[in-house]
Symmetry: C2
Subunit: 204 residues, 2 copies
């Protein structure tokens, strides 16, 4: 039954991706709620009505963009968190974020912009993903010897602090551009080190 991918389905996937790519490019200068369906199809070179074959509306496309942007990141973050000592984990985490901003700045800009943007379903999709990141970080922390004596709530508090800080760092890297990357990354590492210091003395 393993029928070939299907020329038909492959073509459909291709234009669907083209719509998402075009939207992402338009979203560098505007926010989702002001990008029109027609604008996107025009950029792709497709009739406006073709849009409906792939997405219900622009909000639907936005949610798909969220999955594309953050879906693949869980594994990468997991790697960074598996790092043995604290210093290495900080360096690795910041490097992951910096690499993400470097290789796909448009995705990061989209996320920063729509995290509190005007389109509720997209906002919720991003919030869900970030909360999941928080849970993963908390789980990673819980497996460490330093976590002994910590309440689950405090672990979640710490994990949230890490995640929020990473989001702030990502958008700061974006604003600074490639030239300012090392400065922002250095700042982020110092902040994480300070937080890590606070963690070590939490139970005093």
């Amino acid at each position: 039954m393993s029928h070939t991918v299907g020329i038909r389905q492959a073509q459909k996937q291709k234009t669907r991706q083209a719509l998402m790519d075009a939207a992402l490019r338009l979203l560098e200068a505007q926010s989702l709620s002001s990008v029109g369906l027609r604008e996107v199809t025009r950029a792709v070179g497709v009739a406006p009505t073709a849009f409906y074959r792939h997405f219900r509306d622009m909000a639907d496309l936005g949610v798909a963009l969220v999955e594309e942007s953050l879906g693949a990141l869980h594994a990468t973050i997991g790697e960074a968190l598996a790092e043995a000592d604290d210093a290495a984990r900080i360096d690795h985490s910041v490097a992951v974020v910096a690499a993400l901003v470097r290789t796909s700045p448009a995705h990061v800009r989209f996320l920063a912009r729509e995290q509190h943007g005007g389109v509720a379903p997209v906002r919720e999709a991003i919030g869900r993903q970030l909360r999941q990141f928080g849970d993963e970080v908390a789980a990673a922390f819980a497996d460490e010897p330093e976590a002994a004596g910590w309440s689950p709530e405090d672990l979640r508090m710490l994990a949230g602090l890490y995640v929020d800080h990473m989001v702030v760092t990502a958008s700061a890297l974006l604003e600074a551009g490639p030239d300012g990357e090392e400065e922002i990354a250095g700042l982020a590492r110092r902040r994480l080190r300070l937080i890590s210091l606070g963690r070590r003395h939490w139970l005093d």
Copy 2:
């Protein structure tokens, strides 16, 4: 020469404020780049062309909203930072932010939404204000005995961490609504305490 306020100018100020208020209300459900000039004037009950007597375009109105939202906050924050011991300062700061969110949630929502929004002048206006808050916090820290041995860069790093955390807290309070206020506030206090702990051991 102290001529009366001027019925004329007073009336103008009044409709200008009405435009800003109407825009703010519309901005609870959309983002600035998708709110139209006509939409705002319609909400006020004024001809579309009257808008131009007060603002060049919606971006201009947005910048005015930023000043209105954050301009008056500097004094209030200064008070909180003048608090003697660390615990009191944390409590006071969080209380200030919580009060801001409680009394003018629409302003806070606007700021959170447009901080990374699609309208450049507004984004820059917010960034400028937040950077100024960072400078003020850093200056307050520098006056304390605990700041001995700290480099100016590290002080600014710490101040930025405080400010960024406050912004995150404000938008979390907004999302949670009045019922979740105490939970979020408690979380924010614990995070600030952890950061404060890191600060104390920074020079080890």
